[in-house]
Amino acid sequence: MIEKIEKIRKRIAEREVPDVPTIVISSGTCGRARGSLKVIKAFEEEVKRRNLDGKLKLRITGCHGFCEAEPNVVIQPDEIFYQHLKPEDVPEIIDATLDGKVVEKFLYADPKTGERFVHKDEIPFYRKQMQLLMGNNLLVDPTSIDDYIAIGGYKALDKVLEELSGEDVIEIIKKSGLRGRGGAGFPTGFKWAFCRKAPGDTKYIICNADEGDPGAYMDRSLLEGNPHSVLEGMIIGAYAIGANEGWIYVRHEYPLAVKNVTRAIEQARELGLLGENILGSGFSFDIKIMEGAGAFVCGEETALIYSLEGRRGTPRQRPPFPIKKGLFGKPTNINNVETWANVPQIINRGADWFASIGTEMSKGTKIFSLVGKVNNTGLVEVPMGITLREVIFDIGGGIPCDKKFKAVQTGGPSGGCIPEELIDLPVDYESLTKAGAIMGSGGMIVMDENTCMLDIAKYFLNFLVDESCGKCVPCREGVQRMLEIVTRITEGKGCEEDLELLEELGNVVKDTSMCGLGQTAPNSVLATLRYFKDEYLAHIKRMRCPAAVCKEIISSPCQHTCPIDTEVPVYISMIATGQYEEALKTIKKDNPLSSTLARVCHHPCERKCRSGEGGEPIAIRGLKRFVTDYGLKNNLLLKAEVFPKNGKGKVAVVGSGPAGLGCAFELRQEGYEVTIFEKLPVVGGMLVVGIPEYRLPKEILQSDIDYITSAGIDVQTNTALGRDFSISDLFTNGYKAVFIATGAHKSLKLNIPGEDARGVYPSMEVLTALNLGKGIAIGKRVGIVGGGNSAVDAARAVLRTGIPKSVSIFYRRTIAEMPAFKEEVEAALEEEIDIRFLTAPMRINAENGELKSCEFVKMRLGEYDSSGRRRPVPIKGSEFTVELDTLIVAISEKPDISFAEEAGLLVTKWETLSVDAETFATPLKGVFAGGDVTTGPNTVVDAVAAGKIAARSIDQFISGRKIMREYKITRPSKYLPPLELSDEELLETGRRAMPHLAPQERKHIFKEIELGFDEKDAVKEAKRCIRCDLETCDGKRFLEELKEFSKVN
């Protein structure tokens, strides 16, 4: 008997042409979707044209796993991997292959470092994988049984039929620890044993290929790429159990899988591997294919059996279990595709080998389909017990577009999400279940910061509401009700009791549903509730969607994300229609520091812009700048409206930075008399002393300050809290409330030896001196320590004095971790500022108290810390010394709160003022605080927002109302009709770059770098806005009214 298969193998080996390179072309469904069939055609024609038979072989295979890189080819035997191929690339590849060369440009390049990899196994995506099953996809043409036999296929079957009894096979499988790959993880060997022992002569086996999870396709690629491995597993299983008939239940949406399996069955029958008396052993077994109609629930075994029997595909209550009473009432063993495919290798390589892979309870490898917000999407086969971090960051290559990882959903709609805290969780059945998710069939959906967890729960519930069979009440009604509640919350109509109800209902549905679908249906809600309760509460209590996704709450993500609620879509569409003055009014309504923020805002709105999903976000800040510049040029709205006094009294604002100005302006508009006390001789706080002239020209800032003070605000400069007056003085002088916004102006020290040498400056001292035009002694060689905005600002400002010959920034992490704004870092690099990453200072060497040099040590990135960044660790023996004349320490700033103790204010451990996070009230009655003094160094717009919120709290306090923050859903104050765009305009989808002074031109002068859009560009950019604010119910109603109106006219 053995001879027979061996003979075939020998025959095949003889036919093989040795030492000929083989081009292996991936052509699974995923490859075909991206054009692999055209590439194949091109290869075939080229081979034919050049008559390369015998010199080059082509092999068309199933999926290679790296779906992101489709269409791809692997050149064997060198395993050279080429990706993203087009038909026109074919001749070049053939040339290179024949010459034994490598075509650089088609190689995989690391998206971060740009490093190119030649061989398949060097690519990070493949490096950590263990492709026991998927690896064979490259070696076999799925339409050829010869290929499968040539790599040792059906050897296990030979061995089983020749040497082993059914019990022996079951013992081996039991010993291997193989567990069901369909999701529940029942030990396969035990299932087989039960089925074998079940009374009855007729038994059936079924291969469950009804893979229905959104975003999971490992079974498909196995059936498409290597159908014989599944068949072999099934024949062995049938032999062990004593079944003579088997079925493959595959969804009809998998036409290629159906085609390949059908052909494989025919081939196996021809060779006598299926049918009567297999290989002369006396054992008979045959396989039929059944195409499922696409109901998700038919993946459940009892529903699948009903469907196979020709009945309605609904589950029935177990017991009896299918192993006792299954298909046509006979004992039936159902296993998943991947489980069957694992069987031959266990027989071939032994149970001990298999059991040596994986963890104690979960053995072997598992294929996951890694999809979602991850760089390398595809099928990954990894040993059990690998951590999620390794799968997502090492194999998956991390999150695209520098976004932050948020969670990963395992197990599809029945699974749950696993948050960032648990990313080091080992992937096995028990750990995932314990974390509230499931292994499932292997779907792994990665989510980034722009994914709303409620939206995800809603998505899966929506899927399950459709896919529940409807037979049992908790699953049918319960899931619908859960969807109803989650939808209500995402529309901003939820209440806190809803969360309890969701949890209660979820647990009942889990506890009482008939089948696996219902029992796991609430998982997505229960897991998100468990790990992201804050997000639910943000929707309910604060009407906020942190990811800016839930349409009815957010209206447009830009407005929702803006800390000061600027109506971005409104002014952008005004720009698009040329109503610049209207646009300016809209901006100034919410933003008193409009010209300043148009230059220095960190624009969180652009990060969430919907145009930026799969494209480029609208240049919102640039557009705002265009409008404010237009206003300045045309003398529009230079003065604010002076509101009549409300007679409720005076308020003191301490500090004239963005928070103080924002608060003062808001209070003045309410009718309060406001006095600002400023320590420095100039108004503007950090805006004037911290931000260099080249980013924010003084006259621009002054125009905003003039606008604010024109509303009737009194400013007293050179008056410092603690030095010239105390808080109690203010109350004695008749002020009803005080707002403290003194900012964070004190630079932190390095705490290394020699820091008090002359020539070592804190960054704030340097920036203040340069900004106020005071002299400061700067040497020829300047070093800056730090990676934040103040470090980059100091470096670029110092460079502009023209004194230094070299300016270097030393930062202990890499560019990816740098907290400074990305565009600032890039601009600094353009100006030839030398940034040395992974470098930390150790000691400062001085001579006669004068800075001479600084000793640094090289760092490497170690383990991840609590902030999710990798902790820098010094490399021993890598110390080096840099000679410096000036060293600027710019590691961070903290507030000067020397007045706090005397005033009786509470201080946090970060030396900031302690305030109520919602209302900005300090424990002292009538005293409020906001901005950097409460947060530490933060952005300008957040400070303005803090001032505005505090102003509302102050108003509530003085009016004798309860101090509480009021939240409402985000809506623009008015809707503007959408634009009719010409075809030409529709094609212009690219973001306009902000014009800059060239690096050489700007390097040594303090002139503003950004030039601003001209009118033509601004209008074009504004027209790119997709007006997602019109997608809410209100917006849609407006559009309908608009339609009605245009009909009437």
Partner: protein, 244 residues
């Protein structure tokens, strides 16, 4: 013949009986909705769930389908069971508030509030009509169509059936659409009017296995009847009952 323990009673059951049959034999009340003696078990309404097993391994199963086996330990009205039943009745009531059967069940189980928006539907998809048509009348005139939230019971392709003999068995057996609650449309979905009048007044303490209605105290009646100190405050025109 398997020996089982059900609500503390040791019992030797007949081979092939289900838990529900044992409970009926012993006079232990288990609420049912989709179950009918003359029809094949369905297990869809999930009201007849009971808890089997002990400790962490215990689980809920439908008593109408679960065959008794040697050593089985069953609790027909544990806290977990009663709570789940209440939620299920609440779901059914929200779906089909005008069914007297469900209103009565709700009253019996002590469901006093429905936290979901009522749907005012007429069918709870218990499948009794489909089964009686197929199994007893042998007509196969109606069946389930679609799934999930689009599920409905109808004739093939919604056309007038050739095989339907208008026997009316489907209507006779329906627990939802035919037996209508005749009282006024209840405010807040829960009515329970007529059933509540029949409610027994329990003793001060309920005895776990001696409840008149077989409710094991979970109906809440005895708790409600217990003397309680109540203070009523006027707040914004509404009476607020403060339980102390």
């Amino acid at each position: 013949m398997p020996n089982i323990t059900i609500d503390g009673i040791e019992f030797e059951a007949e081979e092939g009986w289900t838990i529900l049959e044992v409970a009926k034999f012993l006079g232990l009340e288990i609420p049912t909705l989709c179950y009918d003696e003359g029809l094949s078990p369905w297990g869809g309404c999930r009201l007849c769930i009971v808890e089997i097993g002990v400790g962490d391994k215990s689980k809920l199963v439908t008593s109408c389908t679960y065959p008794v086996e040697e050593g089985l330990v069953v609790r027909t009205a544990s806290k977990r069971v009663v709570h789940a039943r209440k939620v299920i009745v609440e779901l059914l009531l929200a779906q089909c508030p005008l069914s007297k059967t469900i209103q009565d069940l709700a009253a019996k189980l002590g469901v006093q509030k429905v936290r979901f928006t009522p749907k005012w539907e007429d069918c709870i998809y218990c499948g009794k009509c489909v089964r009686i048509c197929e199994e007893q009348m042998q007509a196969n005139a109606i069946g389930f169509v679609n799934r999930g939230n689009k599920l409905k019971i109808t004739t093939p392709f919604d056309k007038t059936s050739d095989v339907c003999r208008r026997c009316g068995a489907c209507m006779y057996i329906c627990p939802a659409c035919m037996l209508r609650c005749e009282g006024p449309e209840p405010p807040g979905v829960v009515c329970g009017g007529c059933y509540n009048e029949l409610q027994p007044t329990c003793l001060e303490y309920y005895d776990n296995y001696m409840c008149y209605e077989g409710l094991k105290g979970d109906c809440g009646t005895c708790i409600r009847e217990k003397p309680e100190t109540k203070t009523v405050q006027k707040q914004g025109g509404k009476d607020v009952v403060d339980k102390t």
